[in-house]
Symmetry: C2
Subunit: 554 residues, 2 copies
Amino acid sequence: MLFWLRNYRRELLSGDLTAGIIVVLMLVPQGMAYALVAGLPPVAGLYASILPALTYALFGSSMVQSVGPMAITSLMTATSLASLAPAGSALYSAMAAQMALIAGVVLLLCGIFRLGFLSNFLSRPVMSGFTCGAAIIIAVSQLKTLLGGSLSSFNLPGASIGAGSLLLLWLARNHLPALLKRLGLPAKGADILSKLAPALTLLLAILVIVKMGWLGQVALVGPIPAGLPGLGIALSLEQLRSLLLPALLIGFMIFLSGQSAAVTLAQKRNERINTDQELLGLGAANLASAVSGGFPVTGSISRSAVNQAAGANTPLATLVTAGLLAIILCVPTGWLALLPLPALAATIIIAVLGMLDFDTPRLALRHDRGDALAWLATLAGVLLLGVEEGVVLGLILSLGTVIARASRPHIAILGRLPGTEHFRNVERYPVETLPHLLMLRIDAGLFFGNAEVITGQIMHAVQPATRQVLLVMSAVNQIDTTGLYALVELNRNLARQGIQLHMSEVKGQVMDRLQHSSLLLQNLSGKVFLSTAAAFSELFDSAMHAPDSRRAAD
Amino acid sequence: MLFWLRNYRRELLSGDLTAGIIVVLMLVPQGMAYALVAGLPPVAGLYASILPALTYALFGSSMVQSVGPMAITSLMTATSLASLAPAGSALYSAMAAQMALIAGVVLLLCGIFRLGFLSNFLSRPVMSGFTCGAAIIIAVSQLKTLLGGSLSSFNLPGASIGAGSLLLLWLARNHLPALLKRLGLPAKGADILSKLAPALTLLLAILVIVKMGWLGQVALVGPIPAGLPGLGIALSLEQLRSLLLPALLIGFMIFLSGQSAAVTLAQKRNERINTDQELLGLGAANLASAVSGGFPVTGSISRSAVNQAAGANTPLATLVTAGLLAIILCVPTGWLALLPLPALAATIIIAVLGMLDFDTPRLALRHDRGDALAWLATLAGVLLLGVEEGVVLGLILSLGTVIARASRPHIAILGRLPGTEHFRNVERYPVETLPHLLMLRIDAGLFFGNAEVITGQIMHAVQPATRQVLLVMSAVNQIDTTGLYALVELNRNLARQGIQLHMSEVKGQVMDRLQHSSLLLQNLSGKVFLSTAAAFSELFDSAMHAPDSRRAAD
């Protein structure tokens, strides 16, 4: 904790200061916008960006992570609370905080019990499909606000502000960096400056509204209470109960999003992320959000990337950002009240459109059709069934894919490359085989997902002339209890037909376990050979002289 | 379908006839008892043993499977319906049939879409823990009936019948086969005869009740309507809706139980089970149960084993059993009414105690501690949370174990065994290494569950002197889209440090995919070598002469 502070060097300071200032300019509109996505008053988004960020700086393991409101968790907060509390009510805000509380506690517990491996539960295509679905839902939900805000269903000044902001932001995202570079800015500076487009667009929108005399015609954010949030949380056991399941799902997505952002940036910086430490950091951040008027928060890849690009070296940058944000809330906040909702909607839409990812499904389509299908199914699930259901569906699809793949394991019948001690697939190489000896290389670990399929394939490969089966175990990285039983059963069934079972090239870690449980080795009808070559030469002789003890299958 | 009938040979007939007769003697008490477990009138258990068995004989793929009521699915029927309909009501029976209907439709759909791999979703330890939990729940639920039936909470005649039957059945199970063998019977015959102990015990119990004048004092099964069940089913969309989720879980267990029984017997007979065909057979059987006054059914390993041991060669044995059962229902059924409930409870308790399995956890404890924990957690989950919850927990534990294991992949740093072309783990063998060349053997397929962990381990293994990383891919059986992205990222991060990435011994099926998606191969900073030896000799030279382009990690 705070190990970065103990080794802080003075030359890191300027980078941290610059990054802290730039991120706060990005965070003010983004925090307010994501609070709106979550169905909360805009100020909640600012609250959720102060204490949680500070807490993460204390407990998290990433040097440049920016923790605060994020698109997906905000959307999940909104969809979970939609049926539980009236939008905009005090109950709604209280339950949003409780949701952060539960998610925080669960994340802390997972961290304490070192369940960091949970971050490996969703495949990248499934996560991509989920993100695309969430982005589309958020973008569509903002269309009404974009076209006139909440004053009436459609009004020309509001729609002009919305459409104008959208156009500006779109141009900024796609052409501003190139333009700035042509004007002589270094590439990195141009990229960072273009990230401030939302803040500048919002200021411009305020100017236009005041100049055109549209005040009262365009929906505005409205009064923002000045001062820091009070600490505390309203608790109701009944409400906590009803929030348990959605909070678990949000907690899962908080971890996946935060962890993935932290890892992506750490790889670029050649640093390592401690997954269990991340759970603690994100858990503590959500507890902090819960008690300071916030809602579920996580690491934002877009803000964190800007933080890092702007020069952040340590979490001090985050402390600067949080400090500036606190100052903004403590000085008069009247100017924030003028922010037009249609322009905020435009920033949300541009932000989430940036989350759309079609590269992953395109690559998956070429590399692994099952992954492409999983992407499509998750996307469709989020859009048709709902966001929470989408997470569960994604989990099922990710894990289901593992078992589905395992149920088509690859097994090669081997022969000897003439004159060598190499044994290769009979279908790919001109190799020598012995009629009495069936050599099979199992190209998969034996576990419950494939154990029965593999032993079935082995039995199927047995020929009438077979007297010896040799399993080449060089690619078998693990054998679980189900796999062990399947091998014991295979040994018994082969013995019943008068066929001996041998193994070769069993890996050290696999052999250790087989020796410890001893069931298979005690009953094995054949031998365990160190190398396939040794097995081949010994079995060459024995196969030639073995009595024909095979019975017909009856 | 019915392919066994087209090739029927006369010499198979006597075995099929004998088995058919023996199984019906076992089925009458068992069917009625499991109907009681399901909370249904005893006759429903007989109905569920006629048409479903015939239907399975038409569509299933096992030659000796006995389809009908089974302990676990009966328990699940009871726990699912407990909160939905009053026990013993017509609604309860109707909903039990609807549950079989939904499960049947789902199983049929799974069969049509060839989802047979679903049978690989639970590990053996999890299935064992689930079965033990279900057995304990069933045994406990029968204690009240055993000690006096439903006439009053406790009555001496009832308790005597119950306790006496329990003792007899226990003795029969543990000592009868040995006794019969000592009396000169062949082992197989002794085993089969001892399976008829429940039927004989029930007859004896009736005799005792009549002789002792206990009629009216011991709870009896009561009138059994004579005749075959009418065909038809009462349908309500609302009821079907409320049954959907539990029926899905029951359908899953129907498939797991039936498939596992079919496979166990097929292995002994050296036959193959077609998993998708099993789904169709079990699905059709449940539809048949639904329309003939039954409830969810599946293959019973205990009855099927007796069927096979008694000489069944083909599903004709099942046709004989079903025919005899139909005859029993069509002749006067008054004698069935006299069956005492405490004795039936005793048969249930003895049957489910036979399902307790402590060998699996004991072996798991020695072979794989995680599997032993999963057994215990599933058992505890079933007992503490409930049966349906136990299935879901088992699923989570099975699949979670896969990811948890994947998150601790094995990676070996390799060196050359002096004077050979063999490369082995530096920690286990005295090998030669090159300071500039890091050779790593990845002992796992690369997929979303381990991709990030593996690339993290590789980055961690890089030393300051490292200029070349060679990944030995002989044990990498698959690379999914997430794994592909991780390798691309690894290649980029290594290149940023001036380190080249090479691969060797990439398997055929993996290489095909990498070539098809091309992303990695296009950008790979190094080469793909056929063998590690070729890589070693080429990189030996290049590493010696490469310019020092490595930057310090900044």
